[in-house]
Amino acid sequence: MTTNDMPRWATGFVLPILNLLSALLVAALAIHLMGEDPLESLQILINSAVVNPEGLSYTLFYASTFIFTGLAVSIAMQAGLFNIGAEGQMYFGGLGLTLAMLAFDATLPWYLLILTGILGAALFGALWAFIPGYLQAKRGSHIVVTTIMFNFICASLMNFVIVKYLIPPGEQNTASRVFSSAAEMPRLGEWFTVLGDTPLNISFFLAILALAAYGIVMSRSSWGYKVRALGLNQHAAHYAGVKISAMIIIVMAISGALAGLGSVNSIMGSTHYLSLNFVGGAGFVGIAIALMGRQHPVGIFLSAVLFGALIQGGFDLSLEKPNIPTETFIFIQGLIILFCGAMENLYAPAIIKLLKSRKG
């Protein structure tokens, strides 16, 4: 029996859970080595991120962005492409959003403004992923290296653009001016006062919508079927008549658009201006989410919420336990990518042995 022959419940549940637990175990060990009690830390984290309603709203706020970056990486992965550029695509998408706001936020009504913002974010994000996609499809340039390069190019470019063009005269902060209040995504705190002063906004529902659309398209549409075929077996996809070049380019563009949409939550939902490096690693979290959630809409949602909880809970935890700063969760993110991605079949031989001995 190979990993391909294992029953779906084993590959879809048991392995991922074992992998996640391994990552968490290593993290717990690290926490323990630094003189803290992992279980106590876990309790603080859960209280902050899930039990407390305001904390939960923050968790969901972070999750909203992560759902988009997770979707971005997932859809590319389904086509067999490893898009590491979600970070730069979200950043560039933020620029598109900002340019739209700066141009129209004095003239358009809020509903059109939000629409143009979303469009701007998606378009710019798509553009930033389109170029690497094109180079892979037509010139064979490895998408991993090009998207990494584009992350760096975007960082430098945005540095230049913000400093040179966007900082309002007289200001010191490397950020654009604040958008007009019409450009604010309605916040859920206005309707659910128990959530307090939360940045959780309707982008969350946008994210859920995107998840649903992704789920339907990938599992029920013929286009999604072709994407998955391409990712699973390129030879057979060619036999089935899939236009491989075009598909690579389109999938990357959509991936970039999704990453770009992540900026809608951060900027239009929360800060209301474009600041340097506002992405803050969300693109890389997207990679962890796509791997952990196995590119499945429910998995992506749960993973995004988990990471949101880690960020929110981690923040409060770092305040209480100075030995566990928020950077600990970057470490945990790396562990999850390692166990759920690079070593995803670590436990497969053991499980296969177990299944075989049960059979015989």
């Binding site: 029920r220 072709k226 075929a229 077996n233 057979a236 060619h238 089935a240 008549g241």
Partner: protein, 509 residues
């Protein structure tokens, strides 16, 4: 005189498949010995045992009169056995010299050994007229030259017994001649050569003795001088091949496929297809027989839209097939399907199915744009219905539409593929090795299916290395060898000797 190699009662099985049964023959020292047989005859397995890749289940091998246990290829090399594979084991961006030295560098610093090795290589090249420059880089060399490098490697490692596996498959006529001159020089030096081939002319031209294998057994061991091509052909394929399946009387309709002057040349300049031309009519099955690797696979890929020909034209129902000029075949198979060409691919797992998808999802693979509604969503309800009917009609087991198709047996996977293509009601069906890896019980049902299609008026082009299958299904037979069609017969002209000759490269004059 003690033979260089003697096989005594060698047996080897892989699961239920008996690859070698009771194989016994000997090869004299200093002889060029031919090993002939169709696909699956057991020649490759036997040679793999000799070269240490496999261990025989029974019997023994004697080298120079002494029984030897050959556990791996390094022991084989140590015993003086060298093998030139069909797929060369060369590092393309290194020189000939470095390739030869790899694994036997003679020390940490390469420099000292390099000079020595280069000298030795030049000596060997001169003695055997190998015409290879040790300092040349592999990817600058022609395929024939690369093959000579492989031979050079074996000589350098003091091989006394040289096995060549289908060496002329990738060579031009010129290069084949040069190769044979080299082999003759080896013989003069007292080396023993085993030539695995299915080309009868080569056997007659260069070998001293021949062993013919069929179905895992030795069916003949003769001296070349004492035999003839006909006799060899007969031994190679000769067995009573009966056709018992019922079919409607042969009444072909309009021409469905007209192949005109098709050529395919690869990047190395090797002519994979030369002057291929034939016509296929509605309601007939034309089978392309021949040992694999003679261009049949490439022909199927071109006709199904997966590959572009170098030149030539193909008419389908009177209109030229839309091969793009320049560019590639990306997305082309869809167009061909829309025209009404179905394709059961030779390599089912690589091309024909997605192993991780369910059976149901594979029943519309290739037709995904035809089963969607106006929103682009797949009509799963309709598909489920069709799938249930399909599984029943084609007797797929287990009849579970949600099972991952990778878990089905080869035969059942093939039934799904065939069912899928049949469902699209094609006018032309391209079928490649339909019963490869399929159990006996399913073979007959697949044959019955194909014959039924033919009776309904579908034109079928079948590629098969199994002569039984060709006999059972074909109305007409085309035989391919070396990228060319060597001959054509009607089914009532079926004659194993004749076919054997054609498969062996003997053209019909």
């Amino acid at each position: 005189m003690t033979p260089a190699v003697e096989f005594r009662n060698i047996s080897k099985h892989f699961g239920a498949v008996k690859a070698n049964t009771d194989v016994s023959f000997s090869i004299a020292k200093g002889a060029i010995h031919g090993l002939v047989g169709e696909n699956g005859a057991g020649k490759s397995t036997l040679m793999s045992i000799l070269y240490g890749y496999y261990r025989a289940d029974g019997g023994e091998i004697l080298l120079d009169g002494k029984a030897q246990q050959i556990h791996n290829s390094h022991e084989a090399i140590g015993l003086g056995i060298g093998m030139v594979h069909q797929h060369f084991m060369l590092v393309e961006n290194m020189t000939v010299l470095d390739n030869v030295m790899l694994g036997s560098e003679g020390g940490f610093r390469l420099r000292e050994h390099r000079a020595e090795t280069e000298k030795k290589l030049r000596e060997i090249c001169q003695r055997y007229r190998l015409d290879v420059d040790p300092l040349a880089t592999i990817h600058d060399l022609s395929v024939g030259a690369q093959q000579r490098v492989e031979i050079l490697k074996q000589i350098y490692r003091s091989a006394n017994i040289l096995i060549l596996d289908e060496p002329t498959a990738v060579l031009t006529a010129q290069e084949t001649e040069s190769l044979f001159e080299i082999l003759k020089l080896f013989k003069e030096q007292g080396k023993t050569i085993i030539l695995i081939t299915h080309k009868l002319q080569e056997i007659m031209d260069i070998t001293d003795t021949v062993t013919v294998m069929r179905g895992g057994r030795v069916v003949g061991a003769v001296e070349t001088a004492a035999t003839s091509k006909e006799e060899l052909a007969n031994m190679m394929v000769g067995r009573p091949i009966e056709n018992n399946l019922p079919r409607a009387p042969y009444n072909p309709g309009k021409p469905v496929l007209e192949v005109k002057n098709l050529q395919l040349v690869d990047d190395n300049g090797v002519k994979l297809l030369q002057d291929i031309g034939f016509t296929l009519r509605a309601g007939e099955i034309v089978a392309i027989a021949g040992v694999s690797g003679n261009g049949q696979s490439e022909l199927m890929e071109i006709l199904s839209g997966m590959k572009l020909p170098t030149s030539g034209a193909v008419d389908f129902e009177g209109k030229a097939l839309p091969y793009p000029k320049g560019g590639d075949a990306d997305g082309l198979p869809t167009k061909f399907r829309e025209l009404g060409i179905g394709h059961v691919p030779e390599d089912r797992l690589r091309d024909g199915v997605i192993k991780a998808f369910s059976v149901m999802h594979n029943t519309f693979f290739g037709y995904q744009d035809k089963v969607r509604n106006k929103w682009g969503l797949i009509d799963f309800k309709g598909i489920a219905q069709r799938c249930a009917g399909l599984l029943k009609e084609f007797d797929v087991r287990p009849a579970n539409p949600d099972l991952r198709i990778g878990l089905l047996s080869g035969g059942n996977q093939q039934k799904v593929v065939i069912a899928r293509e049949v469902l699209a009601k094609p006018k032309l069906m391209l079928v490649g090795q339909p019963t490869r890896g399929v159990d006996i019980g399913t073979i007959e049902s697949i044959h019955t299916q194909l014959l039924a299609l033919r009776d309904q008026g579908v034109a079928i082009l079948l590629v098969s290395v199994e002569l039984e299958e060709v006999r059972a299904l074909a109305d007409r037979i085309l035989v391919m060898c070396g990228g060319k069609i060597t001959g054509e017969l009607k089914i009532d002209e079926f004659d194993t000797t004749r076919i054997g000759l054609l498969m062996g490269g003997m053209h019909k004059h």
